[in-house]
Amino acid sequence: MMTEALLLQSVIVLPVAGALLISLAGERHKNLREAITLITAVLLFIAILLLYQGIENSTHLVLVIIEPIAGLSLALNLEPLGLLFGLICSFLWIITSIYSIGYMRTNQEQCQTRFYVCFALSIAASMGVAFSANMFSLFVFYEFITLITYPLVTHRGTEEAKRAGRVYLGYLLGTSICLLLLAIVWTWSVTGTLDFTEGGVFADSDVSPGLLTTLYVLSVFGVGKAALMPFHRWLPAAMVAPAPVSALLHAVAVVKAGVFTVVKLTVYLFGLGELERTGAADWLLYVAGATILIASLIALRQDNLKARLAYSTVSQLSYVIMATAILAPVSIFAAAIHIAVHAFGKITLFLAAGSIYTASHKTMVSQLDGIGRRMPWTMTAFAIGSLSMIGIPPTAGFLSKWYLLQGAFTVESWVALSIIVISTLLNAAYFLPIVYAAFFREDKDAQVTHGEAPFTIVLALTLTALGTILLFVMPGRLLSLVQLIKF
């Protein structure tokens, strides 16, 4: 269908065009520049909503952009899982844009134009990941995300930021080039195709379990953005970036691109059936489980708020991977839902952390005593986000945990069940004390006079907190979208 092709193109073209206009507007026309960012974000979201409208009668169109090597093309298509990722990213981009305006101006960050340009481009690349029709396209956009977010991570230009940038590039490019690319070329030489297909590309090609396991290990560890241990160090390092970057990119776009890639290649490249037959994914359950627990334990000991959130992200990402590794359809739903709900919950937490920094320049958990009374909106949102991380109703975190438990029951994996229970306790142990201290402890420092952060910041984080609750109250749309995933 014509419109579908047009819409698919526009998800890449819109943010790129936005980036161009932003760079033209430049530092001189600040208001115009930020208006362009917002308008682009809204347009992009509308485009994806339109795609969502048409998903029921999608034509399975594959839009080939270019074909560098015969049979190996850069191509886009529409598919429920990718659509979900695209919807979340583009919606949260709108909110983060509102937030950035307040944050960047109040904190007087340098090179703001570069910031907005790179931001828009990284959204474009994320959209590419979301709508990739084959593994090669996904890889291309995946690499592009890494490169274009690098200037955002090193935005401050300090020695510390440079070091973080090195770790960031080293881990992400290192794993993707050495492991993922190797797996891709290898898969290509075995099967002759990299197209995402229902049931996977190995379906009829009886490859040996050994080979399939090797390929799967290379692929999963190759996706460094999924922050599976031992390749997780880049994520805490990236926290040196400004808060909007940590919020949208390192809680949503970049890391979700990582776990999304893992889910996508498990379902559409390797195929659940084939993985189950060969047992090639059995090891992943344990690695992901270990990552969940170890990262939570590390998070417990972090005093820096953003570092604690980062390790919490590492742990939460592995929920998605563990859900994928269970290989049951219902656990794949859990993985997809968790991508969505964690996005809302974690972005709320990061936005709150940025809000605290903007208003009070506090970065440590131990400094937050009594801050809830000065910043009620921020800290209430933070509390909601925390509840969602733990998985307590009425927040969206409960949804994914429910499906994840269901998945673990269907395959009778007691290991997975106990990991979920222990980690829920750990989550509570490192989030609830913050909430408690913020609202119920006395503020020792009597001289503080700050109140709430600027309006746009508070608005943004209130919206995401609301979203976290709404997803729990009205999960219908989300669930029906997820159930369109075919295996």
Binding site: G157, G170, I177, L182
Partner: protein, 470 residues
């Protein structure tokens, strides 16, 4: 004035090279007897897909570099020697073209010497005194290489009585067991390997590229090594043949080992360089390793990877050296420590450097990725997974040395205030006459990474032809 003449010559030869390539693609080999003397008595010029392609590489780099050269030359070469540069450059071009088109080994040797002698002269034109020493060192080692090559030819002539490549191929098949022929192969291989700086015969290269004027480095790095690798292909595949070279002598293992050593030692040494030109020179040694690695796999895909990397590396390295030309033009230095925050004065130059650097690393949608893809494919086809991994790990080292430069030049903490001589009038973007050729190459880096029809097709045909599948 002189520049316009040289420029016209460069673009003119590019035009004929392009037409020759098209003609070869359409009609097959072109044969020309010099002076009307039929081969094998006279000298035969023979153009097939492989050398038409190499001819095209040399001609296009020549044309682009010459367009770029004018301002860079006036900056980096003393005024009373500029004419020497242009003369040496034209001689060099002649030599390279001659090596590529000729079908006669002795004629090839003569042209190799023409191009080598003129490149010694070009390197010695560098402003620093070390340029003389670098040129001298290159002269000594280059001459040893040429002598080895000549001895090899002598042995072959003694055994077969012919110098024509096609004729040699026919006659040598009966003589493969003789020690003389084996010795000839050894002399020819070592001689030419010295010329294109195969590890461990690379000692002359870093200094030569570092102290030569940037234009000369850009030109030599992307043409001479490529042409000499072409000569190697001719010797191995067209004269001796795969069975003899690889099955009986097992030269592929030697090439494999030295290619891997080249990749890793070259890249690691590049990481520790402060002078960016020297860093690029070491990177060239590593990249030559990739080309030889492709050849050592002795399969269509491997050879394809090697041949296509001839072209891809030519446009990558020329672009990178031209960036250094631009930076030197404005900042009088290519020492990394002098270049803090250059990116803010020269955004276009540094953007070009980053894109070409990404291409060198092998990021998708650039030419570097295409080479790497086929190289990894070739390794996997032979079930050498460790080698595929090693190739990819090599690109990580490239990330390190490229990113060191990016970090220093483009990311800096404080604004220009802490720069010792902040905002002087000369600190600005390079002139358009330098930027435009540079960006043509950068766009070529992306274009041929997206549309590989021509390059892959030509490389595949050459590879199949060399391996005797056609």
């Amino acid at each position: 004035m002189v520049w316009y003449v040289v420029l016209a010559v460069s673009w003119g030869t590019l035009l004929s090279a392009y037409q020759l390539l098209m003609q070869v693609l359409e009609q097959g080999e072109i044969i020309y007897f010099l002076g009307g003397w039929a081969a094998p008595w006279g000298i035969e010029y023979r153009l097939d897909i492989l050398n038409a392609f190499v001819l095209m590489i040399v001609a296009s780099i020549g044309a682009i570099v010459m367009t770029f050269a004018k301002r860079s030359i006036t900056k980096e070469i003393a005024r009373d020697r500029v004419y020497l540069f242009y003369t040496a450059y034209l001689l060099n071009l002649t030599g390279l073209y001659g090596v590529v088109v000729t079908g006669d080994v002795f004629n090839m040797f003569v042209f190799i010497e023409i191009s080598s002698l003129s490149s010694y002269a070009m390197i010695s034109l560098g402003r620093e005194r070390q340029a003389l020493m670098a040129a001298y060192r290159y002269l000594i080692l280059g001459t040893i290489g040429a002598t080895f090559f000549l001895i090899g030819i002598g042995f072959l002539y003694a055994m077969t009585g012919t110098l024509n490549i096609v004729d040699l191929r026919v006659r040598i098949q009966d003589l493969e067991d003789t020690r003389t022929v084996i010795t000839a192969l050894a002399f020819l291989t070592v001689g030419i390997s010295l010329k294109f700086a195969l590890f461990p015969l690379h000692a002359w290269l870093p200094n030569a590229y570092t102290y030569a004027p940037s234009v000369v480095s850009a030109f030599l790095a992307s043409t001479t090594t490529k042409v000499y690798i072409y000569v190697l292909l001719r010797i191995l595949f067209s004269i001796f043949g795969t069975t003899f070279v690889f099955d009986i002598i097992a030269l592929d293992w030697i090439f494999l080992a030295s290619a891997l050593l080249a990749i890793f030692s070259g890249s690691i040494t590049a990481i520790y360089q402060n002078n960016i030109k020297r860093m690029l020179a070491w990177s060239s040694i590593a990249q030559i390793g990739y080309m030889i690695l492709g050849i050592s796999l002795v399969s269509v895909t491997g050879l394809l990877a090697g041949i296509i990397h001839l072209f891809n590396h030519a446009i990558i390295k020329a672009a990178l050296f031209m960036c250094m030309g631009c930076i030197f033009y404005r900042f009088d230095s290519v020492q990394l420590s002098d270049l803090k925050g250059v990116g803010r004065y020269m955004p276009w130059t540094m953007a070009a450097f980053i894109i070409a650097g990404l291409s060198l690393i092998g990021i998708p949608l650039t030419v570097g990725f295409i080479s790497k893809w086929y190289l990894v494919m070739a390794a996997i086809e032979r079930d050498w997974y460790w080698l595929a991994f090693a190739v990819l790990a090599g690109s990580l080292l490239a990330i390190v040395y490229i990113w060191r430069v990016v970090e220093v030049t483009c990311i800096q903490s404080a604004p220009a205030k802490d720069h010792p001589e902040a905002r002087q009038p000369h600190m600005k973007e390079a002139p358009l006459s330098m930027l435009i050729p540079l960006w043509i190459l950068v766009i070529a880096n992306i274009y041929f990474g997206i549309n590989t029809e021509l390059t892959v097709d030509v490389a595949r045909q050459s590879a199949e032809w060399l391996l005797g599948f056609k």
